[in-house]
Symmetry: C2
Subunit: 549 residues, 2 copies
């Protein structure tokens, strides 16, 4: 494998660990816990793993000799920078406990467990992947581990390999499934512990116990680098409006973090739009008014950040998408026989009049996308909708009839960008490299402590890494009951942007200034070797959320 100069130099980086984890540890148990809501229901569903105490680690001056641990690891869902470091952290952690410990990686996600596809992760393999981006060491996948047959099938290979602990690295759904698996194995005395690790660039897996998911830091720094570069171009050429859509699923954490880092002229926050019950027309007017105001100052340029999930948060389209999904779901067989023309007719004939009106407000191409492009479950593929082009087109239409814009002799030339795949597999920032390695090393300590149904938790992240606090959180503690696909299910609460939170408030306090002036910040590329104030900073979101620590 030919490597770049940076790959080679970066391979030698030794991630920083919390000081506590640099020597043998003992478990300190907190109080018994309760789930964040729906306590009775969650307790019933998790009789063996509910109510466990939070734990943290302290130095152990008189540790018992360690025993070899056989551990399995799974990467689940979308890539996030630092996954390889979680794995190298687990590897080093269990090797430190006993040199005969072994680590097995299940291939291409949870399906590897069920289908018995795996490799042993030995030191030479691990060393190839230290501090690198990507999930290519064992691959990832989106198979959901949720059925007893899968659990039983998995147990066969775990027994065969003598694996007594499984680490599942994933987002909220994968960690929910980790908890279900932990409960099942515990209930059946399978002798396999299950530990989760909080992964997702989207930043929506966080709560009172988990300060941030890994990968968010690096991904937002990559996006902010290219947004900053575009802003510098924008401010040099002074003739384009850049509409920049950012990955991040439903939540707007990524857009908000990038806005805090780069100070664009506009950033839409889906959660706010929903809360204010804004219509698409109002959003378009909000943007157009800023374009016009800048044009009046002679500034026919600007930048606007758009969260991927926006359309689902605009109440009129949320309603439309819900009815579309229900209508097509209820008529699956009938719909499967239709050509596009028949389907369009069927949809327009059966939707509520208000939803037909919402549909007709959209450009034809977007309306078609909503009606005709569906995922295998029959749902609208929101992430495929080119919201950035939809908005710029509607803004252009609005401005064409706007007297103030004409009076300002305004010009409006939009350009479009979508960033997502550029950041999910970037080499982890020092923060993510350290955080991930610590999460993995800490997972080894949790395994050694014999617990199950816990998420690896490393806290106090705005402080230098040595001061980070390692421990474990019972996954059931983060759960509530939500309605998913017409069923009540226990799930980890997804964290959306809180409008009363410090990151949003900080943004909201400044956005008018950023809109009308040009206050761009240019973060530049992630640096690995320079001064700490350049290389070792956590995200702005994390800083604002924990600034009083």
């Amino acid at each position: 494998m030919k490597k770049s100069a940076l790959q080679k130099a970066r391979a030698t980086y030794q991630p920083k660990l919390p000081i506590v984890l640099t020597a043998p540890v003992k478990v300190v148990e907190g109080h018994a816990t309760e789930s964040v809501a729906d306590q009775d229901a969650i307790r019933q569903l998790f009789p063996n793993t509910y109510g466990l105490p939070e734990i943290h680690f302290e130095k152990n001056p008189s540790p018992a000799p360690g025993k070899p641990l056989n551990v399995g690891v799974i990467l689940s869902g979308g890539q996030a920078p630092g996954g390889h470091n979680v794995i190298s952290g687990i590897f080093d952690g269990i090797k430190k406990i006993h040199r005969d410990s072994r680590l097995f990686g299940f291939l291409m996600g949870p399906s590897g467990l069920v289908e018995h596809k795996y490799i042993e992760l030995t030191a030479p393999i691990i060393d190839e992947y230290r501090n690198t981006g990507g999930f290519d060491i064992i691959g990832s996948g989106r198979t959901k581990l949720e059925k007893k047959e899968q659990f039983d099938k998995g147990l066969e290979i775990l027994r065969e390999l003598g694996i007594t602990a499984l680490v599942i690295i994933g987002g909220d759904d994968s960690n929910t499934n980790a908890a279900i698996l932990a409960e099942y194995y515990k209930a059946n005395n399978a002798g396999v512990q299950v530990i989760g690790c909080p992964k997702t660039i989207d930043g929506d897996l966080k709560n009172a116990q988990i300060e941030t998911s890994f990968g968010f830091d690096t991904a937002t720094k990559v996006y902010s680098e290219v947004i900053g570069n575009i802003q510098r171009d924008c401010n040099s050429a002074k003739k384009y409006w850049h509409f920049i859509k950012l990955m991040g699923r439903s939540a707007s954490h990524i857009a908000l973090e990038c806005a805090l880092q780069t100070q664009p002229n506009i950033c839409l926050i889906s959660e706010e739009i929903e809360q204010k019950n804004m219509s698409l027309d109002q959003i378009v007017k909000y943007i157009a008014d800023i374009v016009t105001s800048r044009a009046a100052d002679g500034n026919n340029f600007g930048t606007i950040l758009i969260p991927e999930g926006l359309i689902e948060f605009i109440p009129e389209y949320k309603k439309l998408i819900r009815e579309l999904n229900e209508l097509l779901g209820a008529n699956k067989d009938k719909v499967a026989q239709m050509n596009n023309e028949q389907l369009t007719e069927f949809i327009l004939g059966n939707l509520d009049a208000s939803n037909v009106a919402a549909l007709k407000k959209l450009p034809e191409s977007v309306a078609k996308q909503l009606m005709l492009d569906r995922d295998p479950h029959g749902n609208v593929q929101v992430s495929l909708i080119e919201t950035e082009k939809l908005l710029s087109g509607l803004v252009a239409d609005y401005l064409a009839n706007d007297e103030a814009f004409a009076a300002a002799h305004g010009k409006f030339s939009p350009l479009h960008h979508f960033f997502g795949y550029e950041g999910r597999c970037a080499d982890p920032s020092n923060f993510d490299a350290d955080y991930c390695y610590s999460l993995g090393f800490n997972a080894a300590a949790l395994i050694n402590a014999g617990v199950t149904g816990y998420m690896s938790a490393v806290r106090n992240l705005v402080k230098p890494a040595v001061q980070w606090i390692p421990g474990g959180i019972p996954i059931t503690m983060m759960m509530n009951i939500e309605r998913r696909n017409a069923e009540d299910k226990p799930v980890i609460q997804k964290a959306l942007v809180r409008l009363d939170g410090a990151p949003f408030r900080n943004f909201a306090n400044h956005r008018d200034t950023w809109a009308h002036n040009t206050c761009y910040i240019y973060p530049g590329p992630i640096q690995y070797f320079g001064p700490a104030e350049v290389c070792d900073q956590p995200s702005m979101t994390l800083k604002y959320e924990h600034q009083h620590k």
Copy 2:
């Protein structure tokens, strides 16, 4: 102006200079020069500036005391990383010659000279912009300086400010115009020297005298960073084909350099496609065959780099675009009255049958774009054509009927990217920061030497900066006569990718391996503070072209 941590840290970077420029210099003249072709014609057009000698600088042990210099500077055309460092190099260079020297920046490109819009660039302003990307210090623009009235109007403000030398930072066309301006001022004894600086991310301003244009290094490193990240994602998820279009105008230097840095599965080189007279069908088959071959190995993923100018190099479309431009140019007034429907009818009724056939092979949206979207000169807007989507669509059509692909149980899910604005204003790499500063500092030395019609030239660039060789090249030496807009014009030869050059040959020697295996390299982000092998490397193109030095 709020700044990022990197902006602050980077402001203190002292760019490296060729050792020769660190002390007073004297001019060493080479032989008289000839233009690269059409010598008689060029000599006639440039009677006062033709045939000048190449010059380089040597240390001057007994320099005469310097006199204050009043210098003007213009940024012309598209942004390129390092422009600010050219300006700070000029500033420091003329201040070193005499502390009372002054630098004036004309605003928003060449029009600033004609319209007398300028600012004085003082030390506090210069210090704000050292080692930063963008052209925002004075802005840039695309006004062409080519008319006597412009030259005369410009001379008024130059005289008013006591400016005796003008530095024009631009691409091939801007440097051509710099030569014309130099000749005009010389012929009229205006007392104003004109010096050019080779700028363009596209890499097409290079020749036997100029090793590379500035900005190419940084821009290709930024594109390679994100391409590498996408490749890591691609190799982790193993389910998408990423079609990545790259800026770069006509030439494929950017795509080729990025291919050398990242080793994608496919990279199209426009110049090769033209030389081999490949049809669009053949290109589609070439891609589809690699997709199928990888599918047969179970690899339903890959990356493909596409140069922006591709379509103009496919002979059948080159012909179509030429006839379209001629047809619409010859019927300007008539066409201006037509609606889209009438225009389409007019075009289809008047084009040659082979061109109508070529048009009909395209998806409707692309055909429409070719027929209806025109720039203010009535030309087809090639850069707006979404070649990446055009190709993936045609490949999908091809694969749908391909037996081998079906037999391999192949899947083809394309994703699309276009990178351009992400790199044009990035913070310059150490290479570009040093090169640009040296180009500017060297321009000051050329001014002090009293020459005009020269391009600032810094050579030996594959060696460490201290060993670089500063000097000046008569711009007329790079010129020939070309037909532009139905007129014979003296222009600097544009450098396309040479199929017999080392960079292309190296690529061609490896591409089959890269296509069928997965040999991705992940360059990662530009580093400024680490080891020299990570931070101070020139482009692969430059290394291959000058590897025997």
